[in-house]
């Protein structure tokens, strides 16, 4: 079963060194997951200052600067993994570097048969 692990943390509360360490540890975790066949995808995101929100209302495209909602912690990246059950997903979430400072939200993925992915 696939789970999306969404990583939220306060962007302002992260030094450049911490950011670098976080990447190194995340790559390590991704490799670990990959070696046991549980890695599907992972990406850190650029800060919310680079976010753009798109809405279409009555056929008209509305593009605004910034994220969809202002929150104290922001979505900073994700892991998409394969896990046998929720406990295994929780175990992986607890290994994500930013879980110590921020929050990891686990969302089970809807299994759609036949949906093409890359």
């Amino acid at each position: 079963m696939r789970y999306m692990l969404l990583i939220y943390f306060d962007e302002q509360d992260l030094s450049e060194t911490e950011r670098q360490e976080c990447y190194v540890d995340s790559v390590q975790l991704a490799r670990e997951l990959n070696s046991s066949g549980r890695y599907l995808a992972a990406n850190p995101l650029h800060p919310v200052s680079t976010a753009t929100s798109v809405r279409v209302r009555e056929g008209k495209r509305l593009v605004t600067d910034g994220p969809f909602a202002e929150t104290r912690e922001q979505l900073g990246g994700y892991f998409l993994i394969d896990a046998k059950d929720l406990d295994e997903a929780i175990g992986t979430a607890a290994k994500i570097p930013m879980v110590h400072k921020g929050t990891v939200e686990i969302r089970p993925v809807v299994e759609i048969p036949g949906l093409p992915t890359g």
Binding site: M1, K84, D85, L86, D87, I90, I106, P108
Partner: protein, 417 residues
């Protein structure tokens, strides 16, 4: 079979339902991998027993018979549903073919199923109120109406809570298993929280539907016993002891007219000796393990009260010592407050008042009525009538409980002018 024997068989089905239905359910959930399907199967299995046992006699292994009947009924159900949803046919075939579905042996495997059920119902990924409802429903076998009544909740709200929790177990795939050694301490904590919450819900409410609520405490104690039997960890002993020692004072803590009676004023001959003896033995067992935690420490404190002939004979020095450990194990302003009250008993009211004022100054317990009533009590004993009045009044403004309100009003009225 004679009419008499048939009647006995029917009684046997009913007795088996009371003693075995939760065990059978726990195993069926594992075998079928679905709470709702397992509940239906359980129901069908007992209906089959009611039909067959009076005719054919009671089977040698009633539980195994019921599990097996339940499994076949579930396969039938899936077959019927498969007419509308073809994917279920595969599931039914799988169930039939799967080698795990041979007769369950009468071994510890079945007891494991009950532990699996407890840990699943108390999983931290479920909302706390759903954990309580689900545990009472699935592990204790209470009906939704009974649980709703005990928690003063509307039955549809409670039913919805249970439906949602079962859906999350299925959709997010919460596993049906006992946590690994490494995860056990954290996960056990959640289970103990649920049990203690059920107990307190039945214990703190001394007004209203009194009877139903005492049942809730009884249910929590039964759960505690079951848990200790399945998982003899020191903190499980500690929690069971704590509940028994509190429960032993139930009769003594309210007057016939329903007024609250403080520990010091209780008629100790009314305390339930049997529960106290059992509680004391469990505390000893937990303390000697040296792996105990906050529940055992609270039980040890309750044990000191239980052992004392009267308030004056209480070993307050030991109680303060236990609170010191509890503050370390489980730091919280409420624990500090209780420690301050114990210090007041050991060293006199002024020593306690200094500590309570320090806690209140920090602002942590400013909205907690018991902090103000404890302060009021110490002021009263020190003859600080004006301050006592202010604090009793503040406590009165904050309390939600009817008996507590009447108690505080009495205290206020008793203060000298």
């Amino acid at each position: 079979m004679t009419e008499n024997a048939a009647g006995r068989a029917r009684e046997m089905v009913e007795a088996t339902y009371r003693s075995e239905s939760r065990r059978v359910l726990a195993t069926l959930i594992r075998l079928l991998g679905d709470f709702d399907l397992a509940e239906d199967a359980l129901h069908d299995a007992f209906a089959a027993a009611l039909e067959k046992w009076p005719k054919d006699g009671v089977p040698v292994k009633p539980r195994a018979w019921l599990v097996s009947a339940g499994r076949f009924k579930a396969i039938d159900t899936l077959r019927r549903r498969a007419r509308y949803d073809a994917s279920l046919e595969t599931l039914a075939l799988q169930l039939e073919a799967d080698s795990r579905y041979v007769e369950p042996r009468e071994s510890e495997g079945v007891e494991d199923d009950r532990l699996r059920l407890i840990f699943t119902c108390c999983h931290p990924a479920l909302p706390p109120e759903a954990r309580v409802a689900l545990t009472l429903r699935e592990v204790c076998g209470l009906t939704t109406e009974e649980i709703a009544r005990a928690f003063l909740t509307a039955p549809p709200t409670l039913a919805q809570r249970i439906v949602r929790a079962k859906a999350k177990i299925k959709e997010a795939r919460i596993p049906y298993q006992v946590p690994s050694r490494a995860d056990l301490p954290d996960r056990l904590e959640t289970v103990l929280q649920v049990v203690y919450l059920v107990f307190n819900e039945g214990y703190s409410a001394s007004s209203g539907a009194t009877l139903t609520r005492a049942d809730l405490s009884g249910e929590a104690i039964r759960l505690g016993r079951l848990l200790l039997e399945l998982l003899p960890e020191p903190e499980v002993s500690g929690l069971l002891a704590l509940m028994l020692l509190h429960e032993s004072r139930r009769v003594a803590r309210t007057s016939p007219s329903g007024e609250l009676i403080l520990l010091d004023d209780q008629d100790r001959t009314l305390w339930n000796r049997g529960q106290i003896e059992e509680g004391l033995a469990l505390v000893e067992r937990a303390l000697s393990s040296r792996r105990f935690g906050p529940y055992t420490l609270q039980a040890a404190i309750a044990a000191e009260h239980a052992k004392a002939q009267n308030g004056a004979a209480t070993d307050w020095a030991r109680i303060v010592g236990l609170y010191d450990l509890l503050v370390q194990a489980n730091p919280s302003p409420v624990v500090e407050l209780n420690r301050a009250v114990a210090v007041a008993m050991r060293d006199g009211p002024s020593a306690g008042l200094v500590l309570i004022d320090a806690i209140l100054t920090r602002g942590d317990l400013d909205a907690y009525h018991l902090a103000h009533s404890a302060r009021a009590d110490l002021c009263r004993r020190l003859g600080k009538t004006v301050e006592a009045r202010v604090s009793y009044q503040r406590a009165l403004d904050l309390t939600q409980q009817e008996t507590e309100r009447r108690f505080l009003e009495r205290r206020l009225a008793e203060l000298p002018d």
